[in-house]
Amino acid sequence: MPERRWDLTGLGLLSPLLLLLLFAFLLPVAALIPTSLRPYVAGTGVGEGLTLGHYAKALTDSFYLEIILRTVGLGFVVTLLTLVIGYPLAYVLARSTSRWRHWLTLLVVFPLLLNLVVRTFGWIALLARRGLVNQWLIGLGLAEEPLRLMFNFTGLLIGLTHIFLPFMVLVLVAVIQNIPREVEDAARTLGAGFWAVFARVTLPLSAPGILSGSILVFVLTISALVTPRLLGGPTYKVMSTLIYEQFLQLLNWPAGSAMAVVMTLIVLALILLGTRLARRWEARA
Protein backbone atom coordinates (compact mmCIF):
# COMPACT_ATOMS: atom_id res chain seq x y z
CA MET A 1 0.00 0.00 0.00
CA PRO A 2 1.67 3.26 -1.07
CA GLU A 3 1.80 6.03 1.48
CA ARG A 4 -0.98 8.56 1.01
CA ARG A 5 0.16 12.15 1.40
CA TRP A 6 0.14 15.37 -0.53
CA ASP A 7 2.76 15.10 -3.21
CA LEU A 8 3.82 18.66 -3.97
CA THR A 9 5.49 17.77 -7.26
CA GLY A 10 2.28 16.18 -8.47
CA LEU A 11 0.26 19.16 -7.42
CA GLY A 12 2.72 21.48 -9.14
CA LEU A 13 2.42 19.51 -12.36
CA LEU A 14 -1.35 19.49 -12.13
CA SER A 15 -1.80 23.12 -11.20
CA PRO A 16 -1.83 24.61 -14.73
CA LEU A 17 -4.68 22.27 -15.61
CA LEU A 18 -6.42 22.86 -12.28
CA LEU A 19 -6.23 26.61 -12.76
CA LEU A 20 -7.55 26.32 -16.29
CA LEU A 21 -10.44 24.15 -15.10
CA LEU A 22 -11.15 26.59 -12.30
CA PHE A 23 -11.34 29.61 -14.57
CA ALA A 24 -12.76 28.02 -17.70
CA PHE A 25 -15.24 25.63 -16.10
CA LEU A 26 -15.99 25.99 -12.40
CA LEU A 27 -16.31 29.78 -12.25
CA PRO A 28 -18.61 30.12 -15.28
CA VAL A 29 -20.85 27.34 -13.98
CA ALA A 30 -20.88 28.92 -10.52
CA ALA A 31 -21.72 32.28 -12.09
CA LEU A 32 -24.84 30.71 -13.58
CA ILE A 33 -26.27 29.93 -10.16
CA PRO A 34 -27.03 33.52 -9.00
CA THR A 35 -28.54 34.32 -12.41
CA SER A 36 -30.69 31.19 -12.30
CA LEU A 37 -32.35 32.39 -9.09
CA ARG A 38 -33.51 35.72 -10.50
CA PRO A 39 -37.09 36.28 -11.68
CA TYR A 40 -37.58 37.22 -15.32
CA VAL A 41 -40.23 39.63 -16.51
CA ALA A 42 -40.89 39.44 -20.23
CA GLY A 43 -40.56 42.85 -21.85
CA THR A 44 -38.55 44.41 -19.05
CA GLY A 45 -35.80 41.91 -18.36
CA VAL A 46 -34.12 40.26 -15.38
CA GLY A 47 -35.84 41.33 -12.16
CA GLU A 48 -34.76 41.77 -8.56
CA GLY A 49 -35.31 39.26 -5.77
CA LEU A 50 -34.83 35.51 -5.61
CA THR A 51 -36.96 32.65 -6.87
CA LEU A 52 -36.70 28.89 -7.35
CA GLY A 53 -39.39 29.07 -10.00
CA HIS A 54 -37.11 28.29 -12.96
CA TYR A 55 -35.87 25.09 -11.30
CA ALA A 56 -39.36 24.05 -10.31
CA LYS A 57 -40.51 24.50 -13.88
CA ALA A 58 -37.54 22.69 -15.45
CA LEU A 59 -38.05 19.69 -13.16
CA THR A 60 -41.83 19.37 -13.00
CA ASP A 61 -43.17 20.57 -16.35
CA SER A 62 -43.95 17.62 -18.63
CA PHE A 63 -42.50 19.35 -21.70
CA TYR A 64 -39.15 20.05 -20.06
CA LEU A 65 -39.03 16.59 -18.49
CA GLU A 66 -39.60 15.03 -21.89
CA ILE A 67 -36.67 17.02 -23.28
CA ILE A 68 -34.40 16.10 -20.36
CA LEU A 69 -35.23 12.40 -20.77
CA ARG A 70 -34.81 12.62 -24.54
CA THR A 71 -31.38 14.24 -24.14
CA VAL A 72 -30.13 11.68 -21.62
CA GLY A 73 -31.59 8.86 -23.75
CA LEU A 74 -29.84 10.21 -26.82
CA GLY A 75 -26.59 10.35 -24.84
CA PHE A 76 -26.90 6.70 -23.84
CA VAL A 77 -27.80 5.43 -27.30
CA VAL A 78 -25.04 7.40 -29.05
CA THR A 79 -22.52 6.18 -26.45
CA LEU A 80 -23.64 2.57 -26.92
CA LEU A 81 -23.50 2.83 -30.71
CA THR A 82 -20.04 4.40 -30.78
CA LEU A 83 -18.89 1.67 -28.39
CA VAL A 84 -20.33 -1.16 -30.49
CA ILE A 85 -18.97 0.28 -33.73
CA GLY A 86 -15.78 1.64 -32.23
CA TYR A 87 -14.55 -1.33 -30.21
CA PRO A 88 -13.88 -3.74 -33.11
CA LEU A 89 -12.28 -0.91 -35.04
CA ALA A 90 -10.09 0.05 -32.10
CA TYR A 91 -9.18 -3.60 -31.56
CA VAL A 92 -8.02 -4.00 -35.14
CA LEU A 93 -6.09 -0.73 -35.01
CA ALA A 94 -4.40 -1.64 -31.74
CA ARG A 95 -3.47 -5.19 -32.71
CA SER A 96 -2.77 -4.89 -36.41
CA THR A 97 0.84 -5.01 -37.53
CA SER A 98 -0.04 -4.15 -41.10
CA ARG A 99 1.67 -1.16 -42.69
CA TRP A 100 -1.81 0.18 -43.45
CA ARG A 101 -2.34 0.72 -39.73
CA HIS A 102 -1.25 4.33 -39.77
CA TRP A 103 -3.43 5.08 -42.74
CA LEU A 104 -6.37 3.52 -40.96
CA THR A 105 -5.71 5.65 -37.88
CA LEU A 106 -5.54 8.70 -40.10
CA LEU A 107 -8.86 7.73 -41.64
CA VAL A 108 -10.42 7.58 -38.18
CA VAL A 109 -8.99 10.95 -37.19
CA PHE A 110 -9.74 12.60 -40.53
CA PRO A 111 -13.32 13.70 -39.77
CA LEU A 112 -11.98 15.65 -36.78
CA LEU A 113 -9.95 17.83 -39.13
CA LEU A 114 -13.10 19.02 -40.84
CA ASN A 115 -15.16 21.86 -39.40
CA LEU A 116 -18.19 20.64 -37.44
CA VAL A 117 -20.63 22.84 -39.33
CA VAL A 118 -19.33 21.55 -42.65
CA ARG A 119 -19.67 17.94 -41.49
CA THR A 120 -23.21 18.58 -40.30
CA PHE A 121 -24.16 20.22 -43.59
CA GLY A 122 -22.78 17.10 -45.25
CA TRP A 123 -25.29 15.07 -43.27
CA ILE A 124 -28.07 17.45 -44.22
CA ALA A 125 -27.27 16.90 -47.90
CA LEU A 126 -27.43 13.16 -47.29
CA LEU A 127 -30.45 12.95 -45.00
CA ALA A 128 -32.79 15.65 -46.36
CA ARG A 129 -36.20 14.74 -47.79
CA ARG A 130 -34.72 14.84 -51.26
CA GLY A 131 -31.22 14.02 -50.07
CA LEU A 132 -28.89 11.38 -51.44
CA VAL A 133 -29.98 8.60 -49.09
CA ASN A 134 -33.66 9.05 -49.90
CA GLN A 135 -32.92 9.27 -53.62
CA TRP A 136 -31.06 5.96 -53.49
CA LEU A 137 -33.69 4.24 -51.36
CA ILE A 138 -36.42 5.29 -53.78
CA GLY A 139 -34.28 4.61 -56.84
CA LEU A 140 -33.52 1.09 -55.61
CA GLY A 141 -37.18 0.52 -54.82
CA LEU A 142 -36.49 0.06 -51.11
CA ALA A 143 -38.84 2.87 -50.16
CA GLU A 144 -41.82 4.47 -51.85
CA GLU A 145 -41.99 7.69 -49.88
CA PRO A 146 -38.92 9.62 -48.74
CA LEU A 147 -38.05 8.57 -45.18
CA ARG A 148 -37.96 11.17 -42.44
CA LEU A 149 -34.30 11.07 -41.50
CA MET A 150 -33.96 14.61 -40.21
CA PHE A 151 -35.56 16.71 -37.48
CA ASN A 152 -36.05 13.57 -35.36
CA PHE A 153 -34.20 11.05 -33.17
CA THR A 154 -32.82 9.14 -36.17
CA GLY A 155 -31.17 12.21 -37.65
CA LEU A 156 -29.48 13.23 -34.43
CA LEU A 157 -28.42 9.64 -33.75
CA ILE A 158 -26.74 9.28 -37.14
CA GLY A 159 -25.07 12.68 -37.05
CA LEU A 160 -23.81 12.55 -33.47
CA THR A 161 -22.61 8.93 -33.68
CA HIS A 162 -20.51 9.78 -36.71
CA ILE A 163 -19.10 12.92 -35.16
CA PHE A 164 -18.13 11.37 -31.82
CA LEU A 165 -16.95 7.96 -33.04
CA PRO A 166 -13.29 9.07 -33.37
CA PHE A 167 -13.15 10.06 -29.69
CA MET A 168 -14.29 6.60 -28.61
CA VAL A 169 -11.91 4.84 -30.99
CA LEU A 170 -8.86 6.88 -30.00
CA VAL A 171 -9.43 6.30 -26.30
CA LEU A 172 -9.99 2.57 -26.82
CA VAL A 173 -6.93 2.12 -29.05
CA ALA A 174 -4.68 3.55 -26.36
CA VAL A 175 -6.09 1.23 -23.70
CA ILE A 176 -6.17 -1.94 -25.80
CA GLN A 177 -2.58 -1.32 -26.89
CA ASN A 178 -1.53 -1.33 -23.24
CA ILE A 179 -3.04 -4.71 -22.42
CA PRO A 180 -0.08 -7.08 -22.13
CA ARG A 181 -0.23 -9.74 -24.84
CA GLU A 182 1.25 -12.25 -22.39
CA VAL A 183 -1.95 -12.28 -20.35
CA GLU A 184 -3.98 -13.23 -23.41
CA ASP A 185 -1.35 -15.81 -24.41
CA ALA A 186 -1.50 -17.30 -20.93
CA ALA A 187 -5.27 -17.64 -21.17
CA ARG A 188 -4.92 -19.27 -24.57
CA THR A 189 -2.32 -21.74 -23.23
CA LEU A 190 -4.83 -22.72 -20.61
CA GLY A 191 -7.23 -23.69 -23.37
CA ALA A 192 -9.42 -20.63 -23.82
CA GLY A 193 -10.65 -19.93 -27.35
CA PHE A 194 -10.59 -16.48 -29.00
CA TRP A 195 -14.01 -15.47 -27.73
CA ALA A 196 -13.34 -16.71 -24.19
CA VAL A 197 -10.07 -14.74 -24.11
CA PHE A 198 -11.84 -11.70 -25.43
CA ALA A 199 -14.78 -11.87 -23.04
CA ARG A 200 -12.86 -12.85 -19.91
CA VAL A 201 -9.49 -11.15 -20.37
CA THR A 202 -9.34 -8.43 -23.03
CA LEU A 203 -12.72 -6.86 -22.45
CA PRO A 204 -12.44 -6.57 -18.64
CA LEU A 205 -8.92 -5.22 -18.96
CA SER A 206 -10.09 -2.53 -21.34
CA ALA A 207 -12.84 -1.47 -18.94
CA PRO A 208 -11.09 1.79 -17.98
CA GLY A 209 -10.97 2.76 -21.66
CA ILE A 210 -14.58 1.80 -22.19
CA LEU A 211 -15.51 3.94 -19.21
CA SER A 212 -13.51 7.03 -20.13
CA GLY A 213 -14.51 6.77 -23.78
CA SER A 214 -18.16 6.41 -22.79
CA ILE A 215 -18.06 9.36 -20.41
CA LEU A 216 -16.37 11.48 -23.05
CA VAL A 217 -18.88 10.60 -25.76
CA PHE A 218 -21.85 10.88 -23.42
CA VAL A 219 -20.90 14.33 -22.19
CA LEU A 220 -20.08 15.55 -25.70
CA THR A 221 -23.40 14.22 -27.00
CA ILE A 222 -25.69 15.77 -24.45
CA SER A 223 -23.89 19.11 -24.62
CA ALA A 224 -23.61 19.23 -28.42
CA LEU A 225 -25.32 22.30 -29.86
CA VAL A 226 -24.48 22.81 -33.52
CA THR A 227 -25.49 19.37 -34.77
CA PRO A 228 -28.81 19.24 -32.85
CA ARG A 229 -29.65 22.74 -34.04
CA LEU A 230 -29.04 21.87 -37.66
CA LEU A 231 -30.23 18.24 -37.74
CA GLY A 232 -32.94 18.55 -35.08
CA GLY A 233 -34.32 21.91 -36.12
CA PRO A 234 -37.08 23.67 -34.19
CA THR A 235 -39.23 20.55 -34.01
CA TYR A 236 -36.79 18.20 -32.28
CA LYS A 237 -35.23 20.01 -29.35
CA VAL A 238 -32.70 18.75 -26.83
CA MET A 239 -31.50 20.44 -23.63
CA SER A 240 -28.69 22.36 -25.28
CA THR A 241 -30.92 23.79 -27.99
CA LEU A 242 -33.54 24.67 -25.38
CA ILE A 243 -30.91 26.50 -23.32
CA TYR A 244 -29.73 28.29 -26.46
CA GLU A 245 -33.30 29.33 -27.18
CA GLN A 246 -33.79 30.75 -23.68
CA PHE A 247 -30.52 32.70 -23.80
CA LEU A 248 -30.32 33.87 -27.37
CA GLN A 249 -33.87 33.94 -28.64
CA LEU A 250 -35.99 34.81 -25.62
CA LEU A 251 -33.34 36.73 -23.62
CA ASN A 252 -34.57 34.80 -20.58
CA TRP A 253 -31.15 34.27 -19.01
CA PRO A 254 -32.46 33.11 -15.60
CA ALA A 255 -34.47 30.23 -17.07
CA GLY A 256 -31.57 29.31 -19.39
CA SER A 257 -29.13 29.35 -16.45
CA ALA A 258 -31.39 27.11 -14.36
CA MET A 259 -31.58 24.58 -17.20
CA ALA A 260 -27.81 24.73 -17.66
CA VAL A 261 -27.28 24.05 -13.94
CA VAL A 262 -29.71 21.12 -14.10
CA MET A 263 -27.84 19.72 -17.09
CA THR A 264 -24.47 20.08 -15.34
CA LEU A 265 -25.81 18.26 -12.27
CA ILE A 266 -27.19 15.43 -14.40
CA VAL A 267 -23.81 15.01 -16.10
CA LEU A 268 -21.92 15.02 -12.80
CA ALA A 269 -24.32 12.49 -11.27
CA LEU A 270 -24.03 10.15 -14.24
CA ILE A 271 -20.24 10.40 -14.30
CA LEU A 272 -20.06 9.53 -10.60
CA LEU A 273 -22.41 6.60 -11.12
CA GLY A 274 -20.47 5.39 -14.13
CA THR A 275 -17.14 5.54 -12.31
CA ARG A 276 -18.59 3.54 -9.44
CA LEU A 277 -20.03 0.85 -11.67
CA ALA A 278 -16.80 0.52 -13.60
CA ARG A 279 -14.76 0.24 -10.42
CA ARG A 280 -16.97 -2.60 -9.28
CA TRP A 281 -16.63 -4.31 -12.65
CA GLU A 282 -12.85 -3.98 -12.58
CA ALA A 283 -12.69 -5.33 -9.04
CA ARG A 284 -14.61 -8.43 -10.12
CA ALA A 285 -12.44 -9.07 -13.18
Binding site: Y40, A42, G43, T44, G45, F63, R129, R130, F151, G233, P234, T235, K237, E245, F247, L248, Q249, L250, L251, N252, W253
Partner: protein
Protein backbone atom coordinates in the same frame (compact mmCIF):
# COMPACT_ATOMS: atom_id res chain seq x y z
CA UNK B 1 16.40 26.62 -40.19
CA UNK B 2 16.99 28.25 -36.77
CA UNK B 3 17.73 31.58 -38.38
CA UNK B 4 14.70 31.31 -40.60
CA UNK B 5 12.48 30.59 -37.65
CA UNK B 6 13.93 33.46 -35.66
CA UNK B 7 13.39 35.91 -38.50
CA UNK B 8 9.87 34.61 -38.91
CA UNK B 9 9.20 35.26 -35.24
CA UNK B 10 10.66 38.76 -35.54
CA UNK B 11 8.48 39.51 -38.54
CA UNK B 12 5.39 38.29 -36.74
CA UNK B 13 6.23 40.41 -33.73
CA UNK B 14 6.84 43.50 -35.84
CA UNK B 15 3.57 42.97 -37.66
CA UNK B 16 1.82 42.65 -34.34
CA UNK B 17 3.34 45.88 -33.06
CA UNK B 18 2.39 47.71 -36.24
CA UNK B 19 -1.17 46.45 -36.05
CA UNK B 20 -1.32 47.52 -32.42
CA UNK B 21 -0.03 50.99 -33.26
CA UNK B 22 -2.51 51.36 -36.10
CA UNK B 23 -5.32 50.33 -33.78
CA UNK B 24 -4.46 52.95 -31.16
CA UNK B 25 -4.29 55.85 -33.62
CA UNK B 26 -7.53 54.90 -35.29
CA UNK B 27 -9.49 54.18 -32.13
CA UNK B 28 -10.93 57.67 -31.77
CA UNK B 29 -12.21 57.53 -35.34
CA UNK B 30 -13.74 54.07 -35.26
CA UNK B 31 -17.37 53.16 -35.22
CA UNK B 32 -18.46 49.66 -34.22
CA UNK B 33 -21.83 48.68 -35.58
CA UNK B 34 -23.76 45.53 -34.60
CA UNK B 35 -26.04 44.61 -37.46
CA UNK B 36 -27.73 41.72 -39.28
CA UNK B 37 -25.62 39.54 -41.57
CA UNK B 38 -25.89 38.35 -45.17
CA UNK B 39 -26.97 40.62 -48.01
CA UNK B 40 -28.24 43.09 -45.42
CA UNK B 41 -24.72 43.85 -44.18
CA UNK B 42 -23.41 44.08 -47.75
CA UNK B 43 -26.07 46.63 -48.66
CA UNK B 44 -25.52 48.67 -45.51
CA UNK B 45 -21.85 48.74 -46.43
CA UNK B 46 -22.58 50.05 -49.91
CA UNK B 47 -25.39 52.48 -49.06
CA UNK B 48 -24.31 53.81 -45.67
CA UNK B 49 -20.93 52.71 -44.33
CA UNK B 50 -18.77 53.41 -47.39
CA UNK B 51 -20.15 56.90 -48.10
CA UNK B 52 -19.87 57.60 -44.36
CA UNK B 53 -16.23 56.51 -44.32
CA UNK B 54 -15.45 58.67 -47.33
CA UNK B 55 -17.15 61.70 -45.77
CA UNK B 56 -15.74 61.44 -42.25
CA UNK B 57 -12.53 59.42 -42.58
CA UNK B 58 -13.73 57.24 -39.71
CA UNK B 59 -13.57 53.48 -39.99
CA UNK B 60 -16.75 51.44 -39.65
CA UNK B 61 -16.43 47.93 -38.22
CA UNK B 62 -19.31 45.47 -38.53
CA UNK B 63 -20.20 42.95 -35.85
CA UNK B 64 -22.79 40.53 -37.22
CA UNK B 65 -25.73 39.19 -35.23
CA UNK B 66 -29.52 38.99 -35.29
CA UNK B 67 -31.76 41.32 -33.26
CA UNK B 68 -31.79 39.23 -30.11
CA UNK B 69 -28.07 38.51 -30.24
CA UNK B 70 -27.44 42.24 -30.49
CA UNK B 71 -29.73 42.91 -27.51
CA UNK B 72 -27.97 40.15 -25.56
CA UNK B 73 -24.65 41.83 -26.39
CA UNK B 74 -25.91 45.15 -24.98
CA UNK B 75 -27.24 43.48 -21.86
CA UNK B 76 -24.01 41.59 -21.23
CA UNK B 77 -21.88 44.74 -21.65
CA UNK B 78 -24.36 47.10 -19.93
CA UNK B 79 -22.88 50.59 -19.51
CA UNK B 80 -19.62 49.65 -21.30
CA UNK B 81 -20.86 48.49 -24.71
CA UNK B 82 -18.33 47.38 -27.32
CA UNK B 83 -20.54 48.71 -30.11
CA UNK B 84 -21.71 52.26 -30.84
CA UNK B 85 -24.80 51.33 -32.82
CA UNK B 86 -27.01 48.26 -32.57
CA UNK B 87 -29.55 47.22 -35.21
CA UNK B 88 -32.62 45.48 -33.75
CA UNK B 89 -36.16 44.73 -34.87
CA UNK B 90 -38.71 46.92 -33.12
CA UNK B 91 -40.05 44.49 -30.50
CA UNK B 92 -36.47 43.68 -29.43
CA UNK B 93 -35.45 47.34 -29.36
CA UNK B 94 -38.43 48.05 -27.10
CA UNK B 95 -37.27 45.32 -24.74
CA UNK B 96 -33.73 46.78 -24.69
CA UNK B 97 -35.19 50.23 -24.07
CA UNK B 98 -37.27 48.91 -21.15
CA UNK B 99 -34.11 47.37 -19.71
CA UNK B 100 -32.51 50.82 -19.73
CA UNK B 101 -29.84 49.93 -22.28
CA UNK B 102 -30.52 52.54 -24.96
CA UNK B 103 -29.39 56.15 -25.00
CA UNK B 104 -31.41 59.12 -26.22
CA UNK B 105 -30.44 60.42 -29.64
CA UNK B 106 -29.78 64.16 -29.89
CA UNK B 107 -32.47 65.47 -32.24
CA UNK B 108 -30.43 68.57 -33.06
CA UNK B 109 -27.68 66.42 -34.58
CA UNK B 110 -30.01 64.42 -36.82
CA UNK B 111 -30.88 66.77 -39.67
CA UNK B 112 -33.00 64.13 -41.43
CA UNK B 113 -35.15 63.31 -38.41
CA UNK B 114 -38.03 65.68 -39.34
CA UNK B 115 -38.46 63.79 -42.64
CA UNK B 116 -38.92 60.38 -40.98
CA UNK B 117 -42.51 59.14 -40.50
CA UNK B 118 -43.37 59.88 -36.84
CA UNK B 119 -44.54 56.29 -36.31
CA UNK B 120 -41.00 55.11 -37.12
CA UNK B 121 -39.41 57.15 -34.34
CA UNK B 122 -39.53 56.35 -30.61
CA UNK B 123 -41.21 59.26 -28.76
CA UNK B 124 -38.17 59.13 -26.43
CA UNK B 125 -35.81 58.93 -29.43
CA UNK B 126 -34.13 55.75 -28.12
CA UNK B 127 -34.75 53.85 -31.36
CA UNK B 128 -35.34 54.99 -34.93
CA UNK B 129 -36.75 52.89 -37.75
CA UNK B 130 -34.66 53.11 -40.92
CA UNK B 131 -36.71 50.85 -43.20
CA UNK B 132 -40.06 49.11 -43.56
CA UNK B 133 -40.41 45.49 -44.41
CA UNK B 134 -43.25 43.08 -43.98
CA UNK B 135 -44.15 39.48 -43.40
CA UNK B 136 -46.05 38.50 -46.53
CA UNK B 137 -46.59 35.50 -48.80
CA UNK B 138 -43.83 34.34 -51.12
CA UNK B 139 -44.60 31.86 -53.89
CA UNK B 140 -42.98 30.15 -56.84
CA UNK B 141 -44.69 31.52 -59.98
CA UNK B 142 -43.57 28.47 -61.99
CA UNK B 143 -45.48 26.12 -59.71
CA UNK B 144 -48.52 28.15 -58.69
CA UNK B 145 -50.54 29.69 -61.49
CA UNK B 146 -53.13 31.02 -59.03
CA UNK B 147 -51.07 32.24 -56.10
CA UNK B 148 -52.73 32.73 -52.71
CA UNK B 149 -54.08 36.27 -52.38
CA UNK B 150 -54.98 36.26 -48.70
CA UNK B 151 -53.68 34.80 -45.46
CA UNK B 152 -56.79 32.58 -45.39
CA UNK B 153 -55.77 31.01 -48.75
CA UNK B 154 -52.80 29.33 -47.05
CA UNK B 155 -55.25 26.83 -45.50
CA UNK B 156 -56.48 25.78 -48.96
CA UNK B 157 -56.01 22.07 -49.77
CA UNK B 158 -54.06 22.94 -52.92
CA UNK B 159 -51.11 24.10 -50.79
CA UNK B 160 -50.91 20.95 -48.68
CA UNK B 161 -47.36 19.68 -48.53
CA UNK B 162 -46.12 22.75 -50.42
CA UNK B 163 -45.94 25.41 -47.71
CA UNK B 164 -43.20 26.49 -45.28
CA UNK B 165 -43.77 28.79 -42.32
CA UNK B 166 -41.36 30.38 -39.88
CA UNK B 167 -40.74 28.99 -36.42
CA UNK B 168 -41.87 31.22 -33.54
CA UNK B 169 -38.23 32.23 -33.02
CA UNK B 170 -38.29 33.90 -36.46
CA UNK B 171 -40.15 37.20 -36.74
CA UNK B 172 -42.23 35.74 -39.56
CA UNK B 173 -43.47 32.98 -37.25
CA UNK B 174 -44.64 35.51 -34.66
CA UNK B 175 -46.30 37.59 -37.36
CA UNK B 176 -48.03 34.61 -38.94
CA UNK B 177 -49.43 33.71 -35.52
CA UNK B 178 -50.77 37.26 -35.13
CA UNK B 179 -52.19 37.29 -38.66
CA UNK B 180 -53.83 33.88 -38.14
CA UNK B 181 -55.37 35.14 -34.90
CA UNK B 182 -56.68 38.31 -36.54
CA UNK B 183 -58.36 36.60 -39.50
CA UNK B 184 -60.06 34.18 -37.10
CA UNK B 185 -61.58 36.72 -34.76
CA UNK B 186 -58.63 37.13 -32.41
CA UNK B 187 -56.02 39.82 -31.94
CA UNK B 188 -52.47 40.33 -30.79
CA UNK B 189 -53.82 40.17 -27.24
CA UNK B 190 -55.85 37.05 -27.91
CA UNK B 191 -53.82 34.67 -30.10
CA UNK B 192 -55.87 31.61 -29.11
CA UNK B 193 -57.68 31.45 -32.52
CA UNK B 194 -54.27 31.78 -34.21
CA UNK B 195 -52.87 28.78 -32.35
CA UNK B 196 -55.94 26.73 -33.21
CA UNK B 197 -55.71 27.63 -36.91
CA UNK B 198 -51.96 26.92 -37.15
CA UNK B 199 -52.39 23.62 -35.29
CA UNK B 200 -54.81 22.58 -38.03
CA UNK B 201 -52.39 23.73 -40.71
CA UNK B 202 -49.28 22.16 -39.16
CA UNK B 203 -49.66 18.61 -40.64
CA UNK B 204 -49.67 20.13 -44.12
CA UNK B 205 -46.64 22.35 -43.57
CA UNK B 206 -43.36 21.04 -45.03
CA UNK B 207 -41.08 22.67 -42.49
CA UNK B 208 -40.78 25.35 -39.83
CA UNK B 209 -37.75 27.36 -40.85
CA UNK B 210 -35.55 29.18 -38.33
CA UNK B 211 -33.25 31.12 -40.70
CA UNK B 212 -34.77 33.27 -43.42
CA UNK B 213 -32.22 32.00 -45.98
CA UNK B 214 -33.51 28.43 -45.66
CA UNK B 215 -36.53 29.43 -47.75
CA UNK B 216 -34.30 30.08 -50.77
CA UNK B 217 -33.04 26.48 -50.74
CA UNK B 218 -36.52 25.09 -50.13
CA UNK B 219 -37.87 26.92 -53.18
CA UNK B 220 -34.87 26.11 -55.36
CA UNK B 221 -35.01 22.41 -54.49
CA UNK B 222 -38.75 22.37 -55.21
CA UNK B 223 -39.58 21.29 -51.67
CA UNK B 224 -42.14 24.08 -51.34
CA UNK B 225 -44.25 26.27 -53.64
CA UNK B 226 -45.13 28.96 -51.10
CA UNK B 227 -43.91 30.35 -47.79
CA UNK B 228 -44.70 32.96 -45.20
CA UNK B 229 -41.66 35.15 -45.77
CA UNK B 230 -40.26 38.67 -45.73
CA UNK B 231 -41.06 40.98 -48.64
CA UNK B 232 -37.50 42.37 -48.82
CA UNK B 233 -36.01 38.86 -48.99
CA UNK B 234 -38.31 38.02 -51.89
CA UNK B 235 -37.01 40.99 -53.87
CA UNK B 236 -33.38 40.12 -53.22
CA UNK B 237 -33.87 36.42 -54.00
CA UNK B 238 -35.82 37.13 -57.20
CA UNK B 239 -33.04 39.37 -58.44
CA UNK B 240 -30.47 36.64 -57.93
CA UNK B 241 -32.55 34.30 -60.12
CA UNK B 242 -34.66 32.37 -57.61
CA UNK B 243 -38.18 31.74 -59.00
CA UNK B 244 -40.07 33.65 -56.34
CA UNK B 245 -42.58 36.50 -56.17
CA UNK B 246 -44.41 38.30 -53.39
CA UNK B 247 -48.10 38.75 -52.56
CA UNK B 248 -49.13 41.32 -49.96
CA UNK B 249 -52.16 39.45 -48.54
CA UNK B 250 -55.57 41.06 -48.84
CA UNK B 251 -56.12 41.23 -45.06
CA UNK B 252 -52.88 43.23 -44.78
CA UNK B 253 -49.26 42.19 -44.54
CA UNK B 254 -47.74 42.40 -41.06
CA UNK B 255 -45.33 45.32 -40.82
CA UNK B 256 -41.74 45.00 -39.70
CA UNK B 257 -39.78 47.99 -38.52
CA UNK B 258 -36.05 47.33 -38.16
CA UNK B 259 -34.51 50.03 -35.99
CA UNK B 260 -31.13 51.18 -34.78
CA UNK B 261 -30.08 52.61 -31.44
CA UNK B 262 -27.08 53.95 -29.57
CA UNK B 263 -26.40 52.01 -26.37
CA UNK B 264 -25.79 53.96 -23.14
CA UNK B 265 -22.06 54.42 -22.65
CA UNK B 266 -21.15 54.18 -26.36
CA UNK B 267 -17.60 55.42 -26.95
CA UNK B 268 -18.38 57.52 -30.03
CA UNK B 269 -21.91 58.81 -29.60
CA UNK B 270 -21.45 61.89 -31.77
CA UNK B 271 -19.97 59.82 -34.59
CA UNK B 272 -22.80 57.31 -34.20
CA UNK B 273 -25.37 60.09 -34.59
CA UNK B 274 -23.60 61.23 -37.75
CA UNK B 275 -23.82 57.65 -39.09
CA UNK B 276 -27.54 57.44 -38.23
CA UNK B 277 -28.22 60.75 -39.93
CA UNK B 278 -26.60 59.48 -43.12
CA UNK B 279 -28.58 56.22 -42.96
CA UNK B 280 -31.82 58.20 -42.62
CA UNK B 281 -30.99 60.56 -45.49
CA UNK B 282 -32.91 60.33 -48.75
CA UNK B 283 -29.85 59.19 -50.71
CA UNK B 284 -29.02 56.21 -48.45
CA UNK B 285 -32.71 55.26 -48.12
CA UNK B 286 -33.18 55.22 -51.88
CA UNK B 287 -30.05 53.15 -52.33
CA UNK B 288 -31.30 50.74 -49.66
CA UNK B 289 -34.72 50.51 -51.33
CA UNK B 290 -33.07 49.59 -54.63
CA UNK B 291 -30.67 47.02 -53.19
CA UNK B 292 -32.40 45.63 -50.11
CA UNK B 293 -36.01 46.17 -51.28
CA UNK B 294 -36.54 48.12 -48.08
CA UNK B 295 -39.42 50.54 -47.78
CA UNK B 296 -38.00 54.00 -46.95
CA UNK B 297 -39.03 55.59 -43.64
CA UNK B 298 -37.95 58.97 -45.01
CA UNK B 299 -41.07 60.42 -46.64
CA UNK B 300 -39.07 62.54 -49.10
CA UNK B 301 -37.71 59.51 -50.94
CA UNK B 302 -39.23 59.15 -54.43
CA UNK B 303 -39.27 55.66 -55.87
CA UNK B 304 -39.92 54.65 -59.51
CA UNK B 305 -43.28 52.86 -59.94
CA UNK B 306 -41.73 49.50 -60.64
CA UNK B 307 -39.83 49.50 -57.35
CA UNK B 308 -42.74 51.07 -55.46
CA UNK B 309 -44.81 47.93 -56.19
CA UNK B 310 -42.19 45.66 -54.64
CA UNK B 311 -41.51 47.49 -51.40
CA UNK B 312 -43.72 48.84 -48.62
CA UNK B 313 -44.15 52.44 -49.80
CA UNK B 314 -46.69 55.16 -48.98
CA UNK B 315 -50.23 53.62 -49.23
CA UNK B 316 -48.98 50.06 -48.75
CA UNK B 317 -47.28 51.13 -45.53
CA UNK B 318 -50.59 52.56 -44.35
CA UNK B 319 -52.39 49.30 -45.21
CA UNK B 320 -49.93 47.19 -43.21
CA UNK B 321 -50.69 46.08 -39.67
CA UNK B 322 -47.96 46.94 -37.16
CA UNK B 323 -48.40 44.84 -34.01
CA UNK B 324 -47.82 46.95 -30.88
CA UNK B 325 -44.20 46.11 -29.94
CA UNK B 326 -44.76 46.33 -26.16
CA UNK B 327 -47.40 43.63 -26.29
CA UNK B 328 -45.32 41.41 -28.58
CA UNK B 329 -42.22 41.74 -26.34
CA UNK B 330 -44.29 40.92 -23.27
CA UNK B 331 -46.12 37.97 -24.81
CA UNK B 332 -43.30 36.33 -26.73
CA UNK B 333 -42.10 33.93 -23.99
CA UNK B 334 -45.63 32.61 -23.45
CA UNK B 335 -46.22 32.30 -27.19
CA UNK B 336 -42.90 30.47 -27.62
CA UNK B 337 -43.69 28.05 -24.82
CA UNK B 338 -47.09 27.25 -26.23
CA UNK B 339 -45.76 27.01 -29.80
CA UNK B 340 -43.05 24.55 -28.67
CA UNK B 341 -45.71 22.32 -27.13
CA UNK B 342 -48.53 22.56 -29.65
CA UNK B 343 -46.99 23.40 -33.02
CA UNK B 344 -43.32 22.42 -33.11
CA UNK B 345 -43.56 19.22 -31.08
Amino acid sequence: MGRFRRSLAATAMAAGLLAGAAATTARSQELNVALFGGSFAENVRTCVAEPFQRATGARVNFVLGNSVQNAARLRATRGRPDVDIAYMDLQVAVQAKNEGLLDQVDAARLTNLPDIYPSAVDPDRRWIGFMYSSTAIAYNPRELRNPPQAWADLWSPSLRGKLAIGDITATSGQHFLIAAARINGGSVENVEPGFRAIRDLRPHVVTLYTQADQVVQLIERGDIAAAVWFSDRVGAAARSGVPVAVVFPREGAVGILPTFSIPIGARSKALAEQYMDRALGAEAQRCFAERQFAGPTNRRVELPDELARLVPYRESVERMYFPPPEIVARSLPAWTERWNREIAR
